[in-house]
Amino acid sequence: MSASGGATGPADLDRVVHEPARLLIMTNLFVVDSADATWLLQQTGLTWGNIASHLRRLEESGYVAVAKSFKGRKPRTTLSLTDAGRKALLDYRERMLGALSPVDPPAGQDPRFEG
């Protein structure tokens, strides 16, 4: 059962979070309070273009807050996961585990499921 109490199937997964690059961005932002774009670029190994497009999607979904400011004459972009973003990532984790846990392979077929 998911945190929200709904059914837990792969179809219920939040597709905004499910996309690998966005998941990478969200997990990296999850472990910090905030960071700038250069840090995110270094952590994820994505390109500027990729980061920009995925951040736009995450910002539209209300999962990432983008704050723009100036330090001296240099622009600075500070990124942080919103409360909704943190909740979405935790829900995703729970749903993913829920979606995988009912798998019931025949005994002995997959050694990873041996006790």
């Binding site: 309070d33 700038d36 250069t38 270094q42 920009a52 951040l55 622009p75 846990s101 041996e114 006790g115």
Partner: protein, 230 residues
């Protein structure tokens, strides 16, 4: 199931393990992100240069300057080392690594480091004040190098633990090494101030420079359109 465990039991455990693994991975991710900021070697270089300055102080004493001028020169040297490190961090490290504000758990750890450093400074000041307060307790001066060693190992050990940078523990042993050398071989009679401070300082600076060179190799500035994210 070889262990007499039912399928559903083992699957339950697998899911539990996966949940723990996911948590561990986030922890690893956070640790890796934080540790990167000590992989540039600048703190090591700074620490080594501060240590080396102690031996430079011996040279300054031999220049025949007045106390004020010697103090001003020492402060200028210390200021230029500190200023140089700040400049390097801003101009070399930040464009490569960016900046981040750590999460609550890491902030608690950083507070732990500050507390440890404050306690260490307080202990140092207390130690420095002992001779000023009158005759020090019998035998305490003989124990001073070992008290300094214990203090150094505890402080650097806790820094290594709180900041997740194990090599700081090594510095805990290297930092008081000159004092121990003085204790065993007289007032640097055998080894001399420059050697006593210079060897551990050179080791620490060497580690720092090695780390810095690897950092510059591994983290090139990724030119691009940062404005696209803005």
């Amino acid at each position: 199931m070889g262990s007499g465990m039912s399928d559903s039991d083992s699957i339950g455990i697998a899911a539990e393990e996966a949940a723990t693994m996911a948590q561990d991975d986030l922890k690893t991710l956070e640790r890796r992100a934080f540790r990167k900021f000590y992989e540039d070697g600048l703190f090591d270089v700074f620490l080594g240069l501060v240590m080396a300055m102690t031996s430079v102080g011996d040279f300054i004493d031999h220049l025949g300057l007045s106390d004020g001028a010697a103090l001003a020169l020492t402060i200028a040297l210390f200021g230029s080392v500190t200023g140089g490190m700040i400049w390097l961090r801003r101009r070399v490290v930040r464009p490569r690594l960016g900046v981040f504000k750590p999460g609550p758990a890491r902030r608690r750890r950083i507070r732990g480091v500050r507390l440890v450093l404050a306690a260490s400074v307080a202990l140092g000041l207390l130690g420095a004040a002992v001779p000023l307060l009158g005759e020090p307790p019998a035998g305490i001066m003989e124990w001073a190098p070992f008290i300094f060693l214990a203090n150094s190992v505890v402080v650097f050990g806790l820094m290594a633990y709180f900041l997740d940078v194990p090599r700081f523990l090594l510095y805990g042993f290297l930092f008081p090494a000159p004092m121990i050398a003085d204790f065993w071989w007289g007032p640097y009679g055998l080894v001399g101030t420059v050697v006593a401070f210079g060897i551990p300082a050179a080791i620490i600076v060497g580690i720092g420079l090695f780390k810095l060179s690897r950092f510059l190799r591994d983290y090139p500035i990724r030119e691009g359109e940062a404005s696209r994210v803005c």
